[in-house]
């Protein structure tokens, strides 16, 4: 019983982190209709930025998150303005392909620049645990989960209740109407993609505190982000919390009852099932 509870807690902690891992992908997908296949690679990049600020300047990984997010925002704004805006009206497959290309470029650049070594961001408190009712809770994981959920809620509030957030949602619903009301799409698209990457960067920083990082973590993270975005649906940022928690729980339960090699099989199997049975997501509206 204790073991089951422990596994459930682990799954929830992992699931909270997964929420922010997928949030940037879901935002860019929902607003720009671009499925960013490089999303995981940008998370990887964010993790390395976090690693360098921690190891060079001794900046605490949690305090360093805003810096990582700002750097990634600027990068995202530039990529959308200079590259992706050139093809947003092309067929869907072209946007898939170009972000696929970006993923390949980022992975190999990371391999050249950062080398293929495994790295971890381990502040002094990284080994600390707290025990509640016999269940061990690693502090860093708890903090990463809480920060991830908080950031998701902030994003949700931002999209619903701020002027810029409304402009972004209006663009997602109807580009020409939004244009008539004075929204400048080139700039707004770039801001949205920048926000997507800022979230990816923050996710990378958090990910680095709980897992090892290397140049190849991107592809799996992209695939998991899809699974989360699809399970939760794209209509509301809160969907990724539901999707993230479901994925986290599926993975930890499969690891316990079936075996660790089947964790990915289970999560992607659920992804395929959800795609086939209910492509709008569990929370999504039916078409």
């Amino acid at each position: 019983m204790d073991l089951l509870l422990q596994v459930l807690v682990n799954g929830i902690l992992q699931g909270g982190l997964y929420a922010i891992v997928a949030l940037g992908l879901a935002l860019v997908w929902g607003v720009l209709n671009i499925v960013n296949l490089a999303h995981g690679a940008f998370i990887m990049l964010g993790a390395y930025i976090s690693w360098y600020t921690f190891h060079w300047w001794g900046l605490d990984p949690f305090l360093g998150l805003p810096l990582t997010a700002v750097v990634m925002f600027v990068l995202g704004y530039a990529i959308q303005r200079g590259l992706l805006n050139l093809i947003v009206r092309a067929p869907m497959f072209n946007t898939l392909l170009i972000t696929f290309g970006l993923e390949v470029v980022l992975t190999y650049l990371a391999q050249l620049v950062f080398s293929a070594d495994f790295r971890t961001i381990n502040p002094v408190y990284s080994g600390h645990n707290t025990t509640v009712f016999g269940i061990t809770i690693p502090l860093v994981r708890l903090a990463a989960c809480v920060v991830a959920i908080l950031l998701t809620l902030v994003m949700w509030y931002f999209l619903l209740h701020t002027r810029l957030g409304r402009a972004i949602r209006a663009t997602a619903q109807n580009l020409s109407a939004a244009r008539l009301y004075g929204v400048e799409p080139r700039h707004l698209y770039a801001v949205t993609f920048g926000l997507g990457l800022a979230l990816a960067g923050a996710a990378g920083g958090l990910y680095g505190t709980v897992s090892q990082i290397n140049p190849y973590i991107g592809a799996t993270l992209t695939a998991k982000s899809f699974a989360i975005a699809i399970i939760g649906g794209l209509d509301t940022p809160l969907g990724v919390i539901v999707g993230g928690l479901i994925l986290g729980l599926i993975e930890s339960l499969t690891t316990l009852y079936v075996g660790p090699t089947y964790a990915d099989v289970a999560s992607f199997g659920v992804l395929i099932l959800v795609l086939i049975i209910r492509p709008t997501g569990i929370l999504g509206r039916t078409a």
Binding site: L106, Y108, A223, A227
Partner: protein, 315 residues
């Protein structure tokens, strides 16, 4: 120009077929891997180029073909040809079982579902005792590179002839109708589900045969290398660079890109990977319909061709 095309193709084909006589061992080996990649690109061309369903999971067929040969030859001591047939059976079964639900999905959703399938195959196979779990299988060696070379060439010719047949058959026109407008195709009486599944299976057959040849040639296979996801990157970019939905485009694309990547990887391995990524990004922006379209239109429009492509798709 048009009447010269067929003789030119035949001359190139004869020159390719005779390569083992005048080429070095390295050239033959490079030839085998290039021809197999070209077969994969042609397989992708059927489902992605002609039917308009961008599969990111054709590497699964390749892996199934490789394991078909591996299991038949190592576990059951059967001849290579039986192994190839077994690989084809596995690929067709996969295409039918998973193709029917997955091909109902459109656009992003189809791409993602196939990508997810590609990601889990290695994990599944590494738990199957018959497939040697994650240790893999060691096949009986056959040191006969010219044999593998000619077999790959024949397979590429077969795949290309199939695509040529597609461009002039009722089935092929049905696929193109699905790509251009699926609802319209249904209205015109195309049984879209059957057509899409058949196209997926056809792509799967050629990819599986390529995987089978590769497995016997390399004489070793394990889950990670047989179900290598980066293979999807290669086959898609080769088909798209050359010209998706054309008969010869994917072959030209694979030959050019394989040659460049071979030259680059003789310097630094990771540079070749970087090169593929950059080619994808640049090609999507400047020539999204591939080399075939550049050849058709460049003479008339000149350098404006590339600017026009950007102008059409930007905001």
């Amino acid at each position: 120009m048009k009447h010269l095309r067929l003789p030119l193709i035949l001359v190139v084909l004869v020159a390719l077929a005779l390569l083992p006589l005048y080429g070095t061992d390295t050239m033959v080996q490079f030839g085998i891997s290039t021809l197999l990649l070209a077969v994969l690109a042609q397989g992708w061309n059927i489902i992605g180029g002609y039917t308009g369903y961008p599969s990111f999971g054709n590497s699964v067929f390749y892996g199934l073909g490789a394991y078909g040969v591996g299991i038949a030859m190592v576990q059951w001591q059967l001849p290579f040809a039986v192994g190839m047939a077994f690989g084809v059976v596995l690929a067709v079964a996969f295409a039918l079982l998973l193709g029917i639900p997955v091909l109902r999905l459109k656009g992003h959703y189809f791409a993602i579902a196939t990508l997810a399938l590609a990601q889990i195959m290695a994990a599944i196979v590494s738990n199957v005792p018959l497939a040697g779990e994650n240790i893999g299988l060691v096949l009986p060696p056959l040191n006969n590179d010219p044999f593998f070379y000619e077999m790959s060439l024949v397979l590429l010719v077969l795949a290309t002839l199939t695509i040529w047949w597609l461009t002039r058959s009722r089935f092929g026109f049905g696929l193109i109708a699905i790509r251009e407008n699926e609802e319209g195709a249904v209205v015109m009486g195309v049984d879209t589900t059957r057509y899409k599944v058949l196209a997926f299976a056809l792509a799967g057959i050629f990819s599986a045969l390529a995987g089978g040849i590769h497995a016997y040639w390399i004489t070793f296979l394990d889950p990670e290398s047989a179900f290598d996801i980066t293979l999807n990157v290669k086959m898609i970019i080769m088909a798209v660079f050359g010209g998706p939905g054309t008969i010869l485009g994917p072959i030209v694309g694979s030959f050019i890109l394989s040659a460049i990547s071979e030259l680059l990887s003789s310097e630094v391995t990771s540079i070749a990977g970087l090169f593929f990524g950059i080619v994808i990004v640049v090609a999507v922006v400047l020539m999204p319909r591939g080399l075939a379209d550049v050849m058709r239109r460049f003479r008339r429009t000149g350098w404006h061709y590339f600017i026009e492509n950007i102008r059409m798709h930007r905001i």
